[in-house]
Symmetry: D2
């Protein structure tokens, strides 16, 4: 049974959880030469103490006040007047890990530009093929990154550095950082990658090295907590809507025809839900957060049958993570998670079988656009977001922050401890107005279960 995102609320968060580690005192004057006063039309440094509220609900704030507590809050991102590293001494590393996601090259480009032009970094290395390229045994040499080298890469999908899945020996990776005298490492990746980055930070701390480890969260699924939205997500929704439109055209093209689209989302249905609202054509949006049954009088198949009898076509979107409930396997991956089958194929076959049993011939047109989405170039709003994340990541590193990721929360850029975002996944709350908007847009039943929960 999928869990409502109460974990977030239920977790007892403390002020300590929001505290970002620093490598030491900031004594170097920033080369940015910004203003420190308001009213001169010149951009200002961000004060170390500016903070962004965790909750934007009045009732939550009232409760803090009643309890005499300071509300929980994030450190605000941005350039500091005093920084930790001498600009000319900066030797940066960049590594991109996990699945492809629109915008990685924009992040790389912007990190390089910001490091080179704003902070005059001495050298910037790009490790090849994820953490694998960070250990000597891979035989891979990092690429030296310069503005010339990266100036056109935002025109290309993917990652010019390449990627790989899985972690590597942490000690070996830190050895490698020392080999190249790297004093700031930017890790672009999802929760596995950030867990790895967190371990690298721990090892760096153990060795007492002045190396800043900064994460830039990347997950096309948008399931990282304490961050509004991950880069690439809106691009994914954009292409998802195109796939849904295709399935809709197919479904309307024939009598008793069903369009079925499987979208990314192992733990959370953000892409499916967002694309279902945007497409305006979807009749059923199935996500892991909202439990449902296939069979029975109030089950999904029964509602699908009614729809088809009424309109002669139907359009279904399913998030891949629904497979964890519908087609779990008796196998477990290296991390001990139960594996599950391809829920798109499962549903396609299940629907056909159900209608066969009803003696009704239906056509199911099944579309799985995953690779085409992952490899696309970011839409401009994602590009902008990537660039702003990278700009703030560099500001963070220059200020000696470490073991943290750059995020955005209620429209403000923030610095968030890595450990906080790798605890669990962000999921859609089925009792929220966001999910209501999906129900309103699809017209699907509020519940497709035969018994009340």
């Amino acid at each position: 049974m999928p869990q409502i995102n109460k974990g977030m609320g239920a977790m007892t968060l403390t002020h300590n959880d929001f505290a970002v580690q620093t490598l030491g005192e900031c004594t170097v004057p920033s080369p940015l030469n910004l203003s420190t006063v308001y009213g001169d039309y010149l951009t200002n440094y961000i004060d170390e103490n500016e903070r962004i509220l965790y909750s934007n609900r009045l009732s939550a704030i009232k409760q803090y006040i009643e309890n005499g507590e300071e509300p929980l809050s994030f450190e605000k991102a941005g350039p500091r007047e005093k920084i930790f590293f001498e600009p000319g001494a900066v030797r940066a590393g960049i590594v991109t890990c996990g699945g492809l996601c629109p915008g990685i090259n924009d992040v790389i480009r912007s990190l390089v530009m910001q490091l080179h032009f704003l902070y005059k970094a001495q050298s910037i290395y790009g490790f090849r093929y994820g953490y694998w390229g960070m250990i000597k045994e891979s035989g891979l040499q990092p690429i030296v990154l310069s503005p010339d080298k990266v100036s056109d890469i935002h025109e290309l999908g993917g990652s010019i550095l390449g990627s790989s899945r899985g972690n590597q020996n942490v000690a070996k990776m830190v050895d490698r950082l020392m080999d190249y005298k790297i004093n700031m490492l930017f890790c672009v990746g999802g929760d596995g990658t950030l867990r790895g980055a967190s371990e690298i930070t721990d090892e760096v701390n153990r060795r007492g090295l002045p190396i800043s480890i900064i994460g830039i969260p990347k997950t096309i699924d948008n399931d990282i907590p304490f961050i509004d939205k991950t880069f690439g997500f809106e691009t994914a929704c954009t292409h998802a809507v195109a796939s849904i439109r295709s399935a809709h055209v197919e479904a309307k093209g024939y009598q008793n025809c069903i369009g079925l689209v499987k979208l990314m989302g192992r733990n959370s249905g953000y892409i499916s839900a967002s694309a279902s609202i945007a497409s305006q054509e979807v009749n059923f949006c199935l996500i892991p957060e909202v439990p449902f049954e296939l069979e029975g009088p109030n089950g999904f198949y029964s509602h699908l049958l009614k729809r088809l009898k009424r309109k002669s076509h139907a359009l279904i979107v399913v998030a891949e993570g629904v497979g964890a409930y519908l087609c779990a396997k008796d196998e477990y991956d290296a991390s001990g998670n139960r594996k599950f089958g391809d829920v798109g194929i499962f549903l396609r076959d299940g629907i056909k079988k159900f209608f066969d049993e009803q003696g009704m011939h239906v056509n199911v047109k099944y579309i799985d656009p995953s690779y085409m989405i992952r490899s696309s170039r970011p839409i401009p709003s994602d590009s902008r977001y990537c660039i702003q994340l990278a700009q703030n990541a560099v500001h963070a590193a220059m200020s000696g922050k470490t073991g943290m990721i750059v995020g955005r929360w209620n429209n403000s850029f923030t610095y968030v401890p890595m450990k906080m975002v790798t605890r669990e996944n962000k999921v859609i709350d089925p009792e929220s107005t966001f999910w209501l908007n999906v129900l309103e847009a699809t017209g699907q039943p509020k519940s497709m279960r035969n018994t009340k929960p």
Copy 2:
């Protein structure tokens, strides 16, 4: 990105400013049949008293606490358990005014679907060609809108209802509402339109009519205050980036060539600034909020010359509102605002003249993509936003709210009194990190004035 204009900060806002008017007590049970408890996996009604904080800064909240005041907040949007109108008695009107903007048809479609399917409205009228179609003298009959009529309109740019500029006689418009026995009117438009809607509300109040007037703010410029972002804005930025890319290709295609793109934004430079970050190629982004000089050693032309000597090409984005400073006319419009010339043409000619005087031949490739942007179809993230705005607008009207607009603030949908959003325009704060991100992305000087301000 949502920056509060300094004026906004300066305005003394009171709790009263945030209070939304209602037509009367809500006694009708909602037909939506949502849940009222948490934990049953069923979507909940939004409590009338749920509110979203105006400020997300910890320091602001601390100050409220010190002063013993309740922080300012917005009413949270969403469906209420008890509503004002009997569903079957609803007779709605929709009107779209002002310039075209991507997403208008999505708003119309979603209003119709929500009214028809969720709240079983009796009839829905679409007035033709803006407020002009709302007075009898126009000779225009409203269109009867049904799900069938609107089911494919999200595939089309523009407004199927048509639009017009300017207000009409308020009494006549209210007469017309009475003629058609309309009890809720949805006005899609910018600040002029919302000012008109506000006057309609006043007239309706004067006459003591139970008619709900709901605004859905539309301005491609994103310059409406107390709302994160207006619909169509991200679509505009998307196409703006494409135009900038074109100018960049042209500029790089020849020796000493300058690409110049004029973008929309009469009062604020949001499109120009956002597109400049996203495109990653812009060298100079000129917006009305950031004063600069053309001539002199630290003036724009001088920096442009340096850029061209160094790189042999340059890329400039200018917001149309810069014309108010550079090429104001001695003419005033009906509302008493000073008119100004086309800043794109002005700069194109000015640059040529400047370089001629320097004895340097340059090519200026000038692009003005305005009409192509306005008339485009919304990108999916804007579609989704349009739909959510419309869904919440209908919830508001059903609950008897009036004289208000539907907005979004720090990721939560809100209800905001119309009078609040028509006071003044939202602008970019040049001292904010958002503008810093533009400076970082363009590499342009922090100030292009010859004297300190």
Copy 3:
């Protein structure tokens, strides 16, 4: 690109094969009121006797001359000065059959506009869901088509009439035409559909009815002979290239990674070959016309291994029809054709197995974009082509032509007897320069067989 299948060359074509049937003498003056002289700047009627050469090779023409024969030629399409039907008496039917293809709605729209505005047709019926909607038993009523009804349909993918596969009882379909007093029927479909249309023509002839049956050939695969290119083909290539680009990005994103794209083409590899040239990234393009082996020293797997060792990534395009050789089944369809499996899945699994045996770990990213391609809207060059086909189809019907299709040959629109285009499929000649261009663009071996043929 239009290659004549060797079969075609082998077929003994006679002048008779090129002769289009007519319903009778044309005595009605065309309402188009075109010019009949050259030099007055006014468009001219096309003379009944204008003909377009079948061969564009000088050597072929020389041979005809030597043999004292008139070269084979097609009737040129276009408006005639005298027509067969009284404009006001025209009652037209339109039916769309088979798989979806970009441009069907453009064809429908243009048929309606041309019939209505140019020739003042009395009524136009659109049959629902293919030939199935043409028999009474379907219970489906045809839609009355008017300019208003179709004015926006070119913005939508698919077919507003819907489609179905397979033929229906010919007598019943002709009965239905008689029920509705239809005197011209436009059949949009592939070879099966055109075979059906040919049978309808025969039945109409048998009954001595003055009904014109005109085909508009539709096959996304571009495998219809005696026609340069079918509509929707270039749109298919456009989207195919996007899929290939995605696979390329994925392939480059990881070490030893292979991108694999399966494209449409049951009998011919036109989409695969054209998209492979256009994408410029493909390393192996596999089509049914060019036999190859998987195993052995000169087999495909061996070359793939070499490529991967050299570059660490590879990109493969395979046409679905290759499955007829690689994964034929022991099943036969209703028409007696041997069925075959999904060659994309077959190759994905085969490649993995091969590399496993080599002890080399590879990743295969497999993309099947078929439904997304079929359902897309046509690119403008296809729209234009659709419209011109439909315009000429109407001219043909008005002139009383029947049992024919509208085609294009060497840039001129032509009228071609239906029986000629349903004989066999058009395929790529592996010995042509077109296929050479594919080899040049991919760099793949000229032959991947272990023995000389």
Copy 4:
């Protein structure tokens, strides 16, 4: 008065006009190792004597036969079994001139790939900024082009080499070729460029140098004779249709609103006409080949008025070359051609004035998308075409052909003497069925002149 394209027909063409110059006897065996027999499934060399008919009309061929003449024909493009240059000795140059056009980078990339991989060229130079970069005085060094350097350039619009307008001293350019020991030069450009290339050929001939000069015709206007279509043209039409759609949306958005789009085409209206058919929305398509009057009872304004009264909106497309008639200036350019004003602005103002005089308020929404079109990336069908042109250009150069361009004629690639294509422009014949298709699609009057011609 614009000339009908009778020049082509009227010109007395001789077999000699079609003869391509060669540098000498081909004695080097081609490294391509193709087949010379048919039936072995291996691609064949193209025989030196294969020729493609100039006319595809049966009547024209009959006339040749009657006269006992051989029909005119083009040399067929493709690889020859024996070539002129020793592969390893090839030193190639590439230059791109004139306005930007979608596909230039695809041509460059494919030339480099073909020269490097197929023919193992020794070195390839790219001259910067057109012919200007080919003379020493420019101070510009050519770029050394390798597969690595060009592998991603097809993702970018424009020309990576840059361009310039105008010719340079021919002797100096040939000196430069000699400096770099270049033995084959590929000139990508329009009629001016090809005229320059023709002069370079003459100078090379005069000096008796074994340098092959090959043109790849580039004109977005598609106005080069003896070639089906120029590369970039379909891309231009694609974007033109998008602009027209924008204007249509604007026009429909307001009462009495006119959308006006100016498209490229100085001498011929191909883009305007093709886009008008494809868009299906245009009411008036104005091109230089079809004379019309503005005033008078059968003039354009009068028809526009009727349309507006009937439908309240109208959509106009005008080719820039119409300006030569409507707004010619008393100025002449360097080549003695009369200059003319911007016809889009001229019409916009003229229309407003006309309706003002009629006492009718209209809105004119004017769009000029030229730069956005020129700088875009090619659509895949254009990419494919670019690549095939480049592949055949290299085959031509290797075979020692010179003073020729690569073309396509009735679907076959051809070699055409440069002098033939620079004689005059290709234009639309107003008496052709192509122009009829425009009239049918727009519904505009066959003639908008007050007197018969």
